[in-house]
């Protein structure tokens, strides 16, 4: 079995995790920029982080024969301070030249505040100005439905943004149709305690189709499972889906989305 882990925060994970991913068949990981679990004190902290995910982490992944790609932004949890956010966003254009950068992300909303929305709009403008793909984080729990609607409106306000080059991640049953009906890609995040379980993700494939969707672990420093994608593959097999179907969901689909960047090497 082969697969792509299209959303993983590998800077938070150990080499044992890389080994487990490789042994499960992982060929590439996609690492969006995210919250470190605490608010960084300055743009310099982000500069170092961007260097880590563009320079160091690809080398660590390569030791396990895994390709490493990343996305750049200041995450919505740290967007409440527009001054800091703009200092960080000013760093992004230079880093876009790095060979493993696929786009802008994971941008989005957290508590659906006015400042978060303003900084989201400015990130979308960066993507538009630099012809970048976009990876979107949607809010947690009770904030997800409202945030997803606000994010979709913000994206559709930019007429040059092509929905087929945008993935809106962490969808659940109440938001997946909103995302897919407007031509965006939808990411389903498999978490032990929130977001969706493997069986709910498979249910969504049955209800909403297999086009423009991927599954990811979004593994990070919190309660999360870096092997949740291959575990979902096992659940698909238990439910009677064949190897070709599973390969489409966990390899070909993410490869199709990421392959819209000429930098993506697994065609």
């Amino acid at each position: 079995m082969r697969y792509i882990e299209p959303h993983a925060h590998m800077v938070s994970r150990t080499t044992d995790d890389y080994m487990a991913l490789a042994m499960a068949g992982c060929k590439a990981v996609n690492e969006p920029a995210f919250w470190a679990g605490y608010d960084r004190a300055s743009a310099q902290g982000f500069y170092d982080y961007f260097r880590q995910i563009t320079e160091y982490e690809p080398k660590r992944a390569a030791k396990f024969c895994i390709e490493h790609y990343c996305w750049l932004c200041i995450n919505p949890k740290e967007s409440e301070d527009p001054g800091l956010a703009r200092e960080v966003m000013a760093l992004i254009p230079d880093f876009l030249k790095s060979p493993n950068v696929l786009g802008i992300g994971e941008i989005g909303l957290n508590k659906n505040s006015r400042n978060e929305l303003m900084i989201l709009e400015e990130h979308i403008q960066i993507a538009e100005d630099h012809d970048q793909m976009i990876l979107v984080h949607t809010p947690h729990l009770e904030d997800k439905l409202k945030g997803t609607k606000l994010i979709i409106d913000a994206l559709l306000n930019h007429s040059k943004i092509d929905p087929s080059r945008v993935i809106i991640d962490h969808v659940e049953e109440h938001t997946a149709p909103l995302v897919l009906d407007r031509g965006f890609w939808a990411g389903m995040t498999l978490y032990p305690e929130s977001k969706v379980t493997p069986n709910r993700a498979i249910d969504m494939l049955e209800m909403y189709g297999t086009e423009r969707v991927w599954m990811n672990s979004a593994c990070d420093w919190g309660v999360s499972d870096p092997l949740s994608v291959p575990k979902a593959a096992l659940e698909m097999r238990k439910r009677g889906y064949d190897d070709a179907f599973i390969d489409r969901i966990i390899y070909s689909n993410p490869a199709q989305f990421m392959g819209q960047s000429e930098r993506f090497g697994l065609k």
Binding site: N110, L141, E142, K144, H174, G240
Partner: protein, 90 residues
């Protein structure tokens, strides 16, 4: 749907049974300790009616019952986390 469909009741019944009993025990626990009067528990109780619905789309409607349905951005984010159910003023 897969060509070789297994018995989904066989696959999922025990898991659903465990979760249902766990919810019942959770509510008993809250009663025993006098902590059932919480907006999150009231939101859960409202969502329970969907479990007995005959209409498909139960998961989506449960999620909807536990969602903030306001439409305007809030003025400022004074916290970073979420609680699983919206404040009752929403």
């Amino acid at each position: 749907m897969p060509g070789n469909e297994p018995n989904l009741v066989d696959l999922g019944f025990m898991d659903a049974r465990i979760k249902l009993i766990d919810i019942a025990a959770f509510l008993d626990r809250l009663d025993r300790h006098g902590q059932a009067d919480d907006y999150r528990i009231r939101a859960l109780r409202k969502a329970f009616s969907e479990l007995d619905s005959k209409e498909p789309g139960r998961a989506s409607r449960v999620l909807g019952a536990l969602s903030d349905h306001t439409e305007e951005p809030i003025d400022a984010a004074d916290i970073q986390g979420a609680f699983g159910a919206p404040p009752e003023s929403n």
